[in-house]
């Protein structure tokens, strides 16, 4: 009855990957608010013509996009999911019963 974020049916290594990704997004979020964001809240240097504060947020945005895209492509290649459907045919059922 305890809270569970990811399915028990996941392979331990896959589970660790999902935890790392979730942790990454938590860090991105923390990086955008007080107190971390205060460190990067500066006008100079202007990067690509943007104030540093805006450049910083844009960087986080692009970085998050790349990480999630990588996870999506990896899922497509390996057939993994953080919450795989239960009924995957009789073979899976038998394995769970034994």
């Amino acid at each position: 009855m305890r809270p569970r974020l990811f399915s028990q049916r996941l392979d331990p290594r896959v589970l660790r990957l999902y935890r790392v990704v979730l942790g990454f997004f938590l860090l991105v979020f923390l990086a955008m608010i007080w107190p971390v964001a205060t460190v990067f809240s500066r006008v100079y240097p202007l990067v690509f013509g943007l104030p540093f504060s805006l450049f910083y947020i844009a960087t986080l945005l692009v970085l998050s996009f790349c990480v999630l895209l990588a996870l999506y492509l990896w899922e497509g290649r390996t057939g993994n999911s953080c919450d795989p459907p239960e009924d995957e045919g009789p073979e899976k059922e038998r394995r769970e019963d034994s």
Partner: protein, 473 residues
């Protein structure tokens, strides 16, 4: 005109039952879902309010970019399960899912009420935006009330005819149009006024340095507090994916991969917001004293002596932004009231045809209420909108408990919602309780989670075989 044609045309292929009308028969592909979500956020707030914020409050507008960066990520994790449950049990709204998990009709009614109350100010904002556009562009010849009425007459016409497929097609068309327009205007205006984006920020950095770094300025021109800025990001990131009209799009995806792909590519819309903010920054020194600040974009445009084609394109873009969000909102509000409130509490035996008809009637009624606020009343929109975000975010703990915590019980989530909403109301009624301008919704979430956990643990657990159908295990 074109959007009206496409909207009406796309209604032909969909089935007539509520599952077809509301969830588009669960057949939406990537591009449609992508533009539906994107165009819904590219609302009058993004197109008029975004530049307005950048113009009057500078870097405070960065909060919109920030919450959008992480706001959709939870969908990647809970979306597939929600979609699967929807397919299995035939859910098409958020309240159906949650009230079925907690076996509670009152939860359904509470959620429906929270949603609709939160929708109305949001819809009001879109209508007023449409009114502004007509008003400024015709140099006052079409007053705000008439502009809002014309735009929302069109919205009603196609929501009425086509249901969600109409919404999907028109959003696709409007979404593509908006993207082109955003970049063109956002790069053209700084170039025209300052000779480029870089030179513009160099000038601004000397003149108004506080407007170029987070947290920007507050509503009365002083430097905004970090508490206000950070909590605005937090409450928006949490509330964002929970808005019921957004959430129900999960049920329209054809499959899980398409849903995930949409989430992955969602931040591309945030990138398109950056040039929109440039428009506001461009106006700070060249056009001082525009009031309300939300009219900065049309005001700049009208002053530039642009060819009529560009003005026309702008009009269409801004109206499309306002209307596409508006149609998603009225449509969701109608479906939610009928399916989650009226049908659950009063008339479980409603036939599909009756439901569809009732949704259409309510769409008209809700638009009427929002129109009243947009035109007749002078209620402060910002206050209402803040209140509504505070309420919407209270649904987040309930959803998390529904999917991830088997021990959560019906009294637990009801107590959580009650405590959360009460805290939000209290902090809005007695603003002197506020500290560091932290958003009332944050205190609501604290109260919500505490009540949810304590009451759940104090009440007997729910039937494990029932719960197992819903939670991650």
């Amino acid at each position: 005109m074109l959007s009206l044609v496409v909207g009406l045309w796309s209604g032909r292929g969909t089935s007539k039952g509520p599952e077809g009308y509301v969830a588009g028969d669960r057949t939406l592909g990537f591009l449609m879902l992508y533009f539906i979500l994107g165009a819904s956020i590219f609302s009058a707030f993004a197109f008029l309010g975004g530049p307005g914020w950048a113009y009057s409050r500078g870097a405070a507008a960065f909060y919109i970019l920030s919450y959008g960066t992480v706001g959709m990520v939870p969908w990647f994790f809970f979306g597939p399960r929600v979609a699967r449950l929807g397919r299995k049990f035939g859910f098409v709204t958020q309240a159906e899912l949650l009230s079925s998990r907690f076996q509670s009709k009152s939860l359904s009614a509470v959620l429906a009420s929270i949603s609709v109350v939160a929708f109305i100010p949001y819809l009001t904002l879109q209508m007023r935006g449409a009114g502004y556009v007509f008003n400024v562009v015709t140099e006052g010849r079409i007053p705000i009330w008439a502009g809002a009425a014309i735009a929302y007459g069109v919205v009603l016409a196609y929501v009425f005819r086509s249901g969600v497929m109409g919404v999907a097609w028109t959003n696709t068309l409007q979404g593509m149009f908006m993207m082109v327009l955003a970049w063109t205007l956002g790069l053209y205006l700084p170039h025209k006024l300052y000779g480029g984006v870089g030179p513009m920020f160099e000038v601004l950095a000397k003149a108004v340095p506080d407007m170029l770094k987070a947290p920007g300025l507050g509503s009365s021109g002083e430097v905004w507090t970090w508490g206000g800025y950070s909590s605005a990001i937090l409450i928006s990131a949490i509330g964002f994916g929970i808005w019921p009209h957004y959430f129900m799009k999960i049920f329209t995806a054809r499959n899980e991969r398409i849903l995930k792909k949409t989430v992955v590519f969602y931040p591309t819309f945030q990138i398109f917001l950056i040039p929109i903010l440039f428009i506001g920054f461009a106006g700070i020194l060249s056009y001082p004293g525009v009031d309300p600040a939300d009219e900065i974009l049309p005001t700049i445009l009208m002053s530039l002596d642009l060819p009529a084609v560009v003005i026309g394109l702008f009009c269409a873009g801004a109206l499309a932004a306002s209307m596409s969000t508006g149609d998603a909102l009225v449509h969701a509000a109608g479906s939610i009231l009928v399916r989650d409130f009226y049908r659950v509490v009063f008339r479980p035996d409603l036939t599909d045809a009756q439901q569809t008809r009732l949704i259409r009637i309510l769409v008209v009624v809700i638009s009427g209420v929002a129109y009243y606020f947009a035109v007749v009343s002078n209620q402060s929109l910002v206050a209402l909108l803040l209140l509504s975000y505070g309420f919407i975010a209270q649904i987040f703990p309930v959803l998390m408990a529904a999917l991830y915590w088997p021990r959560a019980t019906r009294p637990g989530v009801l107590a959580g919602l009650a405590a959360g909403c009460a805290a939000v109301v209290a902090f809005n009624v007695w603003p002197e309780l506020q500290w560091q301008q932290i958003h009332p919704g944050i205190w609501g979430l604290v109260a919500n989670v505490v009540a949810l956990v304590i009451v759940s643990l104090a009440t007997p657990p729910m039937d494990p075989t029932h719960v197992r159908e819903y939670v991650v295990h």
